[in-house]
């Protein structure tokens, strides 16, 4: 009886995953592996080797790699600080980091466009203070900046989560046994936080790799990422077959990073947001 009820409760999720995950995925594979006349072909997928597409894939991999590394370097100390704060303001501090995520991602990126422009808010202030102006809008640096800004919380929260769960007795034991702060960090804290780091990396790297909005808005459409190429195949060139074929290639990279996560984060600790 209870079993039946539980099954009934899961029905919406079954519909959800069939309608919004499985069917779209099947459609991507259908379009990706056929040509306009409906014949089976691998040419859409192999088209990734064309210089136009390959270059955009390499740039996307490069930019998302750089932003993931910077995100990690910024997030780890931050997560440690957050995890060690004992006062009542802890909740507030976390809220401050999560708050921007409640605003629409597009709006925030659009706002950065206005802020970073040559005659934008930031440069006006810098000019007023007689400081050198920032010339990063419409360059790859602006894209990296946008990626870091947008995806930083996705790195902070999983690391914060695992750090909170580390038993203080372990740290005390390490100190009792003569380890200094640095040794404790490298021998105890860091290894224990690997699941959080890995899931943080996936949660930053995957959306950064596939983004097309950030490069459009902050890169002035001068830099094509693989996400832009796919978007344009669907919207401008109405070539769904090529767009899907390239998406399949992109999926391979996503699956690789998901498998890495699964290997390192067996208990799903880091992903508990």
């Amino acid at each position: 009886m209870k079993n039946k009820f539980v099954k009934l409760l899961s029905l919406p999720y079954v519909f959800w995953s069939i309608g919004f995950i499985i069917i779209p995925l099947l459609m991507v594979f259908y379009y990706g592996l056929t040509d306009k006349s409906g014949r089976l072909t691998l040419s859409n997928v192999l088209n990734i080797a064309l210089p136009v597409h390959f270059k955009s894939l390499i740039i996307a991999l490069l930019l998302s790699f750089v932003s993931t590394v910077i995100c990690l370097l910024l997030s780890y100390p931050l997560a440690m600080i957050l995890a060690n704060v004992k006062s009542k303001s802890k909740g507030l501090m976390i809220l401050i980091f999560v708050l921007p995520m409640w605003m629409n991602f597009l709006l925030r990126t659009l706002a950065w466009q206005t802020l970073l422009e040559n005659e934008g808010v930031i440069n006006t202030v810098l000019q007023f203070l007689h400081l050198p102006v920032l010339k990063i809008i419409n360059t790859p640096y602006a894209i990296i900046f946008g990626m870091i800004y947008n995806f930083l919380p996705f790195m902070v929260l999983p690391i914060y989560n695992v750090l909170c769960k580390i038993d203080n007795n372990l740290l005390n034991a390490a100190r009792d046994l003569g380890a200094n702060e640095i040794q404790t960090f490298f021998k105890v804290t860091l290894p224990l936080s690997v699941p959080g780091i890995i899931s943080g990396i996936t949660m930053v790297f995957v959306p950064a790799l596939t983004t097309f909005v950030i490069s459009d808005l902050l890169g002035g459409s001068k830099i094509l990422l693989i996400g832009n190429v796919i978007e344009q195949e669907f919207t401008l060139n109405s070539n769904w077959h090529l767009g899907s074929g390239l998406s399949i290639v992109l999926m391979i990279f996503i699956i690789i990073s998901m498998i890495t996560t699964a290997i390192f984060d067996k208990d799903g600790e880091g992903s508990a947001l």
């Binding site: 136009v52 422009e117 002035g220 459409s221 832009n228 669907f234 919207t235 401008l236 109405s238």
Partner: protein, 350 residues
């Protein structure tokens, strides 16, 4: 089971508006798909009130974005406002419905010359009613350039590095490069297109950004010195920033018409024609002109413009007979489209 679920969901969604406002819009709906910021919102409201027809209004940024959405039929739009070459493409693909001119008596307000020009893409004037027209030209900030800009060639001048805004739409970008090299903007000759592509590649390091609607705001905000822009934006931008000057380049440029069309699979054809007819009323066309500042082909509306400077403005209503190298875009066929798109992708990805 799944179908049933979806049906239930749809039924619920349909009930909401039925309960809400079944009295206010007794004459049904009309689905309109138009360019971004291409109508005075008050006009939609007054149409809804007058005809008791609910207007469901969506916007697009380029013809190329609009076409696949309409072709896929995801939303059953009734009225769309594509440009010349796109109308031809839609006619060729049997997507448009013939208009019943008896239902659009206000079409008489549209100048005959615009219907004549329309024949280039709508041979018998069966499908389209001109809504706006204009040219593509250069908008520049006279305080930021050394000499007046008069030619496309100056968009390749290295001293304006990072001061140039190009159009991020394939036909407009290639039009500039083709005209620069003295070719037709409708060429499908591979050699000519390769030369144009190389020109665009050569220009790319000088370009600040490839944008569509944002040219306007960036030029007003002194963000760039030179921008490729539609003539309709010129009056508005000059109103906001008096340093801006619009020119039709010497090498020639594109002259375009955006026209209302009704889709073949329109569910509300009668309402669609009512909507188009309403848009052709002189007072309404004038209201739209004041708001969007794109040249109106509606002669009756133009006569109503109070400001003489604007009524006789060279920008809004240029005398096209004094230019001999203006062209309209022609639909290039699927192969032509593909060729342009792939070359454009090469430019963008470099």
């Amino acid at each position: 089971m799944k179908k049933l679920f979806l049906f239930g969901l749809l039924a619920t969604l349909c009930m909401v508006p039925m309960f809400g406002c079944s009295n206010a819009y007794e004459n049904g709906k009309v689905y309109v798909y138009n360019w971004g910021e291409y109508i005075d919102p008050e006009v939609i409201e007054s149409f809804e009130k007058e005809y008791k027809i609910k207007v469901v209004y969506d916007e697009y940024e380029t013809n190329e974005v609009m076409y696949p959405k309409v072709a896929a039929g995801a939303v059953n739009y009734d009225v769309v406002c594509p440009s010349d070459y796109m109308i031809k493409k839609m006619i060729d693909n049997d997507m448009l419905a013939e208009l019943d001119w008896n239902n659009i008596p206000n079409a008489k307000n549209i100048g005959q010359q615009y219907f004549d020009t329309s024949k280039e893409f709508d041979a018998e004037n069966k499908y389209s009613v001109p809504y706006c027209w204009g040219t593509v030209g250069i908008l520049y900030n006279k305080t930021m350039v050394d000499e007046p800009i008069t030619k496309w060639e100056q968009l390749w001048d290295p001293k304006y590095k990072n001061q140039i805004l190009m159009q991020n739409s394939v036909r407009d970008a290639f039009m500039v490069a083709l005209k620069l090299n003295g070719y037709s903007m409708n060429t499908t000759n591979l050699d000519e297109l390769q030369i144009a592509k190389n020109s665009l590649l050569e220009q790319k390091p000088l370009v600040q950004a490839y944008v569509v609607d944002q040219v306007r705001d960036k030029m007003i905000g002194n963000e760039a010195a030179i921008g490729v822009i539609y003539s309709g934006e010129a009056i508005y931008t000059q109103r906001e920033n008096s340093n801006l000057v619009y020119v039709i380049p010497e090498e020639g440029t594109n002259v375009w018409i955006d026209s209302w069309v009704v889709l073949k699979n329109a569910q509300n054809k009668e309402n669609a024609e009512k909507f188009i007819n309403y848009m052709c009323e002189p007072e309404i066309a004038l209201k739209n002109f004041d708001f969007i500042t794109y040249s109106t082909p509606n002669d009756a509306a133009r006569a109503l413009i109070e400001d003489e400077d604007i009524r006789n403005s060279e920008i809004a209503f240029p005398d096209l007979t004094q230019y001999n190298n203006l062209e309209t875009y022609i639909y290039l066929g699927e192969d032509g489209d593909e060729l342009y798109n792939s070359l454009w992708k090469e430019v963008k990805s470099e």
